[in-house]
């Protein structure tokens, strides 16, 4: 199936519509809440929580015996929350650092989850097929009720974000100030963490335990490069997330043997890479260009200053000097002379140069910070 065919089918095929809508909503939700996770320096929390959710899924199945995805999600949510709060407990009450706490919870919970899964597998007459889809995710198993759950959660978190926007923003950038203003920091903290955990848990079925963290991080990290405003960042991250979802679904649907999760993650990674390189303000490309042009300016100024010191010893400014005397000076090239001439700072006459009035003024005020930058 070609990509174009996919988009044609999108308008007619119900299953495809459901899956595409699901991944799009999931991407938007993760991008939105991921922005907060990234800015709160909790980037890897997503990784830890998604792994920590596994035993919850297995236990929920063991207890209820049902494979209904909502039941399993509640189990995942509970064990994800336990993991989160244990991480906090470890970081707050012991001298173990957050990276250790994250790695601990991640691997220990996941290992316990694996123990339960293999245990379930070997239980007599337990049809466990379908539980391991949470490991790597299968967007194809999304049904409309799952998508409804996602939409409801996305709507709910959007509502919460809008209601507590000001508070969350304050909390992000200055937690102490927020506390001193009398906001209930603990409540806000728990609220945002709770929603981050929920968004991770709903994504498990689609992209799986291993790749969920990237869903949370990548759109936000990409969006961060384009703006310094929180609201724009959240919006952009949601858009990036939704696009990675849709494009990932499209690509994986249009070729054989491609699971959706990894493709979505790679698309998101491409967004990140593109943003890292091409974002106008922070991007590596423009940073390098700026760096080079600054360096050229500096060399030009150095040459000009050198000329100024020569000219200063003469009575009239436009007294011509040989270009040769510049030769033992670094940073001087034929090009920089041309550039200086084009700016009318000097005039070049065969092998002689002389400073103009304008060039002299410029050179005299070169280190004067007050002067307007041209």
């Amino acid at each position: 199936m070609e990509i174009t065919e996919y988009f044609n089918l999108l308008f007619t095929d119900y299953t495809l519509q459901t899956i595409t809508l699901g991944t799009a909503v999931l991407g938007a939700l993760c991008g939105m809440l991921g922005s907060f996770a990234v800015l709160r320096k909790q980037s890897l929390l997503g990784d830890a929580i998604s792994h920590a959710a596994l035993p919850g899924i297995a236990l929920a199945f063991l207890i209820t015996g049902s494979k209904d995805s909502n039941t399993l999600l509640i189990g995942a949510l509970i064990s994800g929350l336990i993991g989160t709060f244990w991480i906090r407990g470890i970081v707050k009450k012991t001298h173990l650092k957050s990276d250790t706490a994250l790695g601990l919870i991640l691997s220990l919970f996941f290992g316990f989850g694996m123990l339960l899964l293999t245990f379930i597998q070997k239980m007599p007459n337990a049809n466990q097929a379908g539980l391991d889809k949470y490991l790597f995710g299968q967007a194809a198993t999304l049904v409309s009720s799952d998508v409804w759950t996602m939409c409801i959660i996305a709507g709910l978190s959007l509502l919460i974000l809008l209601v507590f926007w000001k508070e969350f923003k304050l909390l992000l950038f200055d937690a102490d100030y927020t506390k001193s203003l009398g906001f209930n920091v603990k409540f806000l903290d728990i609220l945002i963490t709770f929603f981050i955990v929920i968004s991770i848990v709903v994504g498990l079925q689609t992209v799986g335990v291993v790749l969920m963290s990237a869903m949370l991080l990548a759109p936000a990290a990409a969006a961060r490069q384009w703006t310094n405003s929180l609201s724009v960042m959240v919006l952009l991250a949601a858009i990036f997330g939704a696009f990675s979802g849709v494009l990932g679904t499209a690509i994986s649907a249009s070729s054989n043997n491609l699971s959706t999760g990894p493709v979505i993650v790679l698309i998101a990674a491409v967004f990140v890479l593109f943003s890292f390189i091409f974002s106008p303000k922070r991007g590596l490309l423009f940073r390098e260009i700026r760096y080079q042009s600054n360096r050229k300016d500096l060399e030009l100024h150095k040459t000009l200053a050198f000329m100024y010191h020569i000219v200063k010893t003469h009575d009239n400014i436009d007294h011509p000097h040989a270009i040769k005397i510049l030769n033992n000076f670094h940073g001087f090239t034929r090009k920089s002379l041309q550039k200086l001439e084009s700016k009318e700072y000097i005039t070049v006459n065969k092998t002689m140069w002389s400073l103009t009035e304008k060039g002299f003024d410029k050179a005299a005020n070169l280190y004067n910070q007050q002067e307007e930058n041209e």
Partner: protein, 386 residues
């Protein structure tokens, strides 16, 4: 015990030792999550290695996988250096992308290959003894034993040779650089060892258990001691203990050995987390509570010293004026009584000589805010502590 069982336990113990050593340094260097990243991103290296050699048992596979682990570290550090995102975001961006590439490569090209993502992530220790090493037709035991044994020997040799350098560069990078051994070399050396260990261990125990075996024993040891040598030994012992207990739990439950080893590690960690002598949760909470009561006592003493009038020193007054609950006032008054700092005479509290001395010293401490160790001061005065 059959010989296969003994071999499995031996492999598990060797993996535990091989993981505990680099794990300890990763935890101390606050780079624990790097092990998670490495354990995932070896996948593309493995897959590419497999495409080149067409042989799942080739040593090139291990080498390429280890190289892709080191590449992960380099990429993470490159992204961190650009300053475009915060440190840990870089880790979170790199390894899912590499892992995805691995998954897609497998899905696209290796339909009929026994290279399975599940196997990489989860491993199956129970099958390890079936893969045997033959030299000239002689059965030398399970292959994993030799692979991991070699890694353990290399790691131990490097540890003993470079112990001093590792120690200094872990705790004081500047000092290490001044003394002339490059922190960078040691850093990448450690990362390479971590990668090689992960790769060597993963097909026996799976990538996630490698992470658990690296971090959890080291974290436990860190809660129990501040001495690097002791920490290494405790970490190794904890790893071995969980390997052995975990094996028998799995045997009993008929479940994944890797999973049950991790679960045992989890329980061990929970115990240490709760009960570690000075850094465990319970002793931390106890200490915080005691310090709280002691601060209350200080406030109380100062209050008494500042007020000579009887109405301020009535025992019922505490509740209204310093805003303490009944229980709280009782604890504080009891503590003060026990330490002979106050006397209660007809419900009026007065300071004793000792109490006065304490209050004066306390004021000194508060106003000068000098480096007078308040703990020492408390030692001088307290017979009983809160």
């Amino acid at each position: 015990m059959s010989s296969a069982q003994i071999e499995i336990q031996l492999i598990a113990c060797l993996v535990a030792i091989a993981c505990a050593i680099p794990g300890t340094f990763l935890v101390l260097r606050k780079m624990a999550m790097i092990s998670d990243a490495i354990s995932h991103s070896i996948l593309p290296g493995l897959v590419i290695g497999f495409f080149i050699t067409e042989d799942l048992n080739s040593p090139w596979l291990i080498l390429l996988a280890a190289v892709s682990g080191v590449i992960t570290v380099i990429m993470v550090e490159f992204i961190q250096k650009t300053g475009l995102v915060k440190e840990d975001t870089a880790i979170g961006l790199v390894f899912p992308a590499l892992f995805s590439i691995g998954v897609i490569l497998i899905a696209k090209n290796a339909n009929d290959v026994h290279l399975d993502v599940d196997a990489v992530l989860l491993g199956e220790l129970a099958f390890a003894p079936f893969d045997r090493l033959f030299v000239n037709g002689v059965d030398l035991g399970a292959k994993s034993i030799w692979i991991i044994g070699t890694i353990v020997v290399i790691t131990l040799t490097l540890l003993i040779t470079f112990f001093k350098e590792l120690k200094v560069s872990t705790f004081d990078k500047q000092l290490a650089a001044t003394l002339g051994f490059s922190p960078l070399v040691i850093h990448y050396g450690l990362m390479s060892i971590a990668s090689v260990t992960t790769v060597g261990a993963f097909d026996a125990v799976g990538a996630i258990l490698v992470v658990a075996l690296m971090i959890a024993p080291a974290a436990m040891a860190y809660l129990l001691t501040n001495n690097l040598k002791k920490m290494l030994i405790i970490a190794i012992l904890a790893g071995i203990a969980s390997a052995l207990i975990g094996y028998w739990v799995a045997h009993y439950l008929d479940a994944s050995i890797a999973g049950s080893m991790t679960t045992v590690l989890g329980f061990l960690f929970l115990l240490v987390y709760l009960f570690a002598p000075s850094k465990g949760l319970i002793s931390v909470l106890y200490r915080q509570k005691r310090q709280q009561v002691e601060v209350y006592l200080l406030t109380f003493m100062l209050h008494l010293q500042n007020h000579t009038e009887e109405s301020e020193r009535h025992i019922n007054h505490l509740g209204e004026h310093i805003n303490w609950g009944k229980m709280q006032s009782k604890t504080v008054v009891d503590l003060a009584l026990k330490n002979n700092m106050i006397v209660i005479d007809d419900n009026i509290i007065s300071l004793t000589e000792k109490g006065k001395g304490f209050a004066e010293k306390a004021i000194d401490y508060i106003t000068t805010n000098s480096t007078v160790a308040i703990e020492e001061m408390k030692e001088d005065f307290f017979l009983f502590r809160g």
